[in-house]
Amino acid sequence: MGEVIVITSGKGGVGKTTTSANLGCALASCEKSVVLIDADIGLRNLDVVMGLENRIVYDLIDVIEGNCRLKQALIKDKRYSNLYLLPAAQTKDKNAVTPEQMLKLCESLKEEYDYIIIDCPAGIEQGFKNAIAGADRAVVVTTPEVSAVRDADRIIGLLEASGLKNPLLILNRIRPDMVKRGDMMTIEDVTEILAVDILGVVPDDESIVISTNRGEPASMDKNSLAGQAYRNICRRILGDDVPLMDLTISDGIFAKFKKLFGGKNKA
């Protein structure tokens, strides 16, 4: 019996889709069978982040309306034979699906695959309710900004009210240089405010932009710091005890010198 994990955030643009794609790839590289579901109906993007946009024939709505069998709509990943994507429909809207239908879909996928990762749309309306309906666990993605943290707090409240207790937090796009000079909230600041356990921290990293350009999730890139962060998160999901990535930077002699003479630190 597999596990359904919903990746959510409330606010848009904090990295839900990137997180879903990277965790899917990382779990697949650990020999787990994985299905990624894009629940953002009308605004699908997981397909392009995964580089699978040219292979779509059927989508989530086709499965729910019975236009095709579930297996026909699952797109096999290019890199991992045990990783599949169920794309969202691009031409329908969120009301084309009900929470009951999503629950049924998740139940049948759980019988055959180890992990079902659901990429939740932004917002707290129907799309959110659909995405969380079949979930066993929730992961909340946020960035260290007031707007994202505020929305994360709202989402945590809604998740708990829906019976998804103890959601885990991923703090995305941390910039160690800004944290160091006190211009960005730390991991401790955010977890204290939201009162949830942390699943992982992901540094702000150019390699995410580059890998998304190419349609190859960063977790496959051994040299990517963000990729390493996602691989660590994957291992924690699998139950390993992996320490949080150390993102603190220490002053080099040159930086201390510059500070001493009042030079401005350029980010």
């Binding site: 260290p144 007031v146 707090d153 409240g157 909230m185 600041d189 405010i193 003479f261 009042g262 030079g263």
Partner: protein, 97 residues
């Protein structure tokens, strides 16, 4: 030259963010709009005015958080109501009258 900047460090912006967030989340969590708080403030004023002379400009009502006996965070209403003087017993009117 940024030398004098060292003596004049502005508040770290992350602390500003944290303080603002804490305040806004207390309101979000209890689901209390500014309108409701304003209505409550006016009603409190009306009752208080029966017993004392109050400068309504000075009234400060806000929702914050405190720790309960069970060590859980609970919302708390704080009202700061400076008054000029208490009305003489004959001028004070209870709601029951």
């Amino acid at each position: 030259m940024d030398f004098f900047g060292l003596f004049n460090r502005r508040a770290q912006s992350k602390n500003v963010a944290k303080d603002r967030l804490k305040l806004v989340l207390v309101h979000d969590r209890v689901n209390c709009s500014a309108d409701v708080l304003e209505m409550l403030k006016n009603d409190i004023l009306k009752v208080m005015a029966r017993y004392m002379d109050i400068d309504s400009e000075e009234l400060d009502v806000q929702i914050t958080q405190t720790m309960s006996d069970k060590n859980e965070k609970v919302p708390m209403l704080i009202a700061n109501i400076p008054f000029k003087n208490v009305k003489p017993p004959r001028a004070a009117r209870s709601l029951n009258e």
